[in-house]
């Protein structure tokens, strides 16, 4: 085992509620006056176990213990609000823990945001120096790497233009270029890769991998991009509502994260929808639903380009003949994105009394990662249009399901910020420059 460079023990952080944004003297005084009355009423969004040591506080991080060895790349995963950012902020010394302790050996560089301290009025070159110095580089280090940084950023001739004139892409590239040339012994990175285009992201991920492989630098990488975490990190920690839920081999931890008991339906198990609010005659009803992507790497959860299989368990009060059995997938705004309707087959299905199971398969889902609701429908078609007794069962919100952020290898689609509603694979045919001059006519840079 290599030398341990990050060691944390029972790290906890409590935040005060009501006081996070504003604090005025008057509030402080009234708080002081009412302290004896103790009106502890934490907001309902916060789980009971997260209620902190005093009224109106909650634990953003609770008793987290783990260690990281030199040269390791460790992923930090968890849902929003799981405590990832809090953990990274404490390790970067931006804030202090409420209790617990940690020991870090080596210079820490943290990248919780790209372009921290960029000044819009200053030129790209000036901002490289300023941002570099803010991130902990010395002037001499920056000067030594200046050409490389400018090259990496690809802003070329605009390097002496104030950055307020930059396009957002150039701005981000310049900021990344500085960050990519940080040479700390321990690099702490938060979700920053969510910006920037895909090829640039790859360039940065590659650079991070190099840092750990060839320079034995340690990286702590928090991200929602499970694919990047799986590619980059040998080991991962899983945070859930402030607590450390798992720590170990990335594949295992990711599977545990995806399969974790969540407000969302878990793959592979029958989900009881018998009690859901519904319309229709009720002669035939969907009572249970099961789905899976059949992919163990995703713990069976659905993912953007993956297949999806649904099974609907139906109960009929007597033998019935129906033409339409459908499963719809809606986005949170209620827009129907997918409608798998057996009516498309133009057949009539005879359902005997008792239980039937309908299995359908979608070859490629093409939905971007996110939360969707599932609607269920069973109806008879009596010629044109539906009569009042024709809808046997309609459950508008049977369950919620999550399409997870995990693309199959080789699937070229952009799932980060700005992703479209629908995903699709594509192929780059070529990039041509019909108006460009031949190389020898171009002025040297």
């Amino acid at each position: 085992m290599t030398e341990t460079v990050i060691e944390i023990e029972n790290l906890s952080k409590a935040y005060r509620l009501g006081e996070l944004r504003f604090g005025t003297l008057r509030e402080a005084m009234s708080r002081w006056r009412t302290r004896s009355r103790r009106e502890a009423r934490p907001s309902p969004a916060i789980a009971p176990e997260q209620v902190g040591p005093a009224p109106n506080t909650f634990w953003a991080l609770r008793d987290v213990t783990f260690s990281v060895g030199r040269g390791e790349v460790v992923g930090v995963i968890g849902r929003n609000g799981a405590g990832k950012s809090t953990l990274l902020k404490i390790l970067s010394r931006i804030t202090e823990p409420t209790s617990g302790r940690g020991l870090i050996t080596g210079r820490v560089g943290s990248l919780l945001e790209v372009g921290a301290g960029f000044h819009p009025e200053l030129s790209g070159r000036d901002n490289i120096f300023l941002n570099g110095a803010i991130l902990g580089m010395r002037k001499a280090d920056i000067r030594r790497q200046l050409d490389e940084i400018i090259e990496f950023s690809d802003v070329g001739a605009f390097i002496d233009t104030p950055v307020k004139r930059y396009s957002s892409g150039m701005y981000v590239r310049l900021a990344f270029a500085v960050a990519a040339h940080l040479e700390p012994e321990i690099l702490i990175v938060d979700e920053v890769l969510a910006v920037g285009d895909a090829s640039f992201q790859r360039k940065c991920l590659g650079r991070m991998r190099d840092m750990s492989r060839t320079h034995a630098r340690t990286v702590l990488f928090a991200s929602h991009n499970l694919e990047a975490v799986q590619r980059l990190c040998g080991r991962s920690v899983l945070l859930d509502r402030g607590r450390l839920r798992a720590c170990g081999d990335t594949a295992t931890v990711v599977a545990q994260y995806l399969g974790a008991e969540t407000p969302f339906a878990a793959a592979g198990t029958w989900i009881d929808v018998a009690g859901a609010a519904r319309e229709g005659t009720g002669e035939v009803r969907v009572v249970e639903v099961r789905f899976t992507s059949g992919n163990a790497r995703a713990a069976g959860q659905l993912y953007a380009d993956g297949p999806a299989e649904f099974e609907l368990a139906i109960e009929a009060v007597g033998a019935r003949r129906v033409q339409s059995i459908a499963l719809g997938i809606r986005d949170p705004a209620g827009q129907k994105l997918v409608n798998v309707d057996l009516a498309a087959l133009g057949e009539t299905f005879a359902l005997p009394e008792g239980r039937s199971v309908v299995r359908v398969r979608i070859e490629e889902l093409h939905l971007k990662p996110g939360t969707y609701t599932v609607a269920l429908w069973i109806a008879r078609y009596a010629g044109e249009g539906l009569g009042p007794g024709d809808v046997l069962d309609f459950v508008e919100r049977a369950m919620e399901l999550e399409v997870v952020d995990l693309a199959a290898p080789g699937f070229r689609t952009w799932l980060g910020g700005g992703a479209g509603v629908v995903t699709c694979d594509f192929e780059l045919i070529e990039i041509s420059h019909p108006g460009a001059l031949p190389d020898r006519l171009r002025s040297p840079r």
Partner: protein, 288 residues
Amino acid sequence: MSATSRTAAPVTHAIAPNRSWLRFDVGELWDRRDLLFLLFRRDFVSRYRQTLLGPAWHVLQPLALALVFTLVFGRVAAIPTEGAPRVLFYLAGLLGWNACSHSLQATSATFGSNADLFGKVYFPRLIVPLAAVLTSLVALGLQLGVFLVVLAGYRLVTPSSGVGMHWSALWLPLLAVEAAALGLGVGLWISSVTARYRDLKHAMPFLLLLWMFLTPVIYPLSRVPPEYRALALANPVAPVVEAFRHALLGTGTVVPSALVGSLASTLLILVSGVLIFQRTERTVVDTL
């Protein structure tokens, strides 16, 4: 890579709740001196981008203020100036006052206006107010230049006036540093308190104006009734402003004991300001 050359001795730092009031890492501050100068440069360069007059603003502001003072307090209110030409009297007084007040204004919003940055990157926070003080000292140098030009012009027009600098002008840099340190100390206090309680931010402009009126800027100390003289000198800026005027114009009352007292209270305010600032900086991002 050459970065390894300075990693021979591993840097270790502990992460733990630290409620101590006495923790001040000078070494770390020195280690990040490059940042200090880059921030200073940013402050100076960026402030006057896209302005017509650029750094001339540093000069125009006090000049215009001195002219207004001459008109209002000199001509209308007829407050005597110990025989010194009015414009020069106010300019000299403003120099002393600005040495303190500009550094105060530049540092008093440190946490408020850097909340975003402080929430994303760690570096010794004290570097930001230190860079701001450097900027205000350079601005002070420019203002001193203006004063000297006006003084030279005055002597050219009235060669027999006898108005001129005193040998004690050699103390000016020290006086300026003391005044800036005082402003920094108060600024650090204000920024620490306003990080939690915003009230003070709104009271600031008013309190600063009040403080200026309590300081012999628009009137000489000699006009303060003797029974209030000691009280007036308890204001740590008062002896500095008088000393500025003495150095620059040869007028004014220099009370050595008051200067020593001013120095002592400056040290007290600065040290306590640094301590409360470093105590605040460690968890301030939670409340910003």
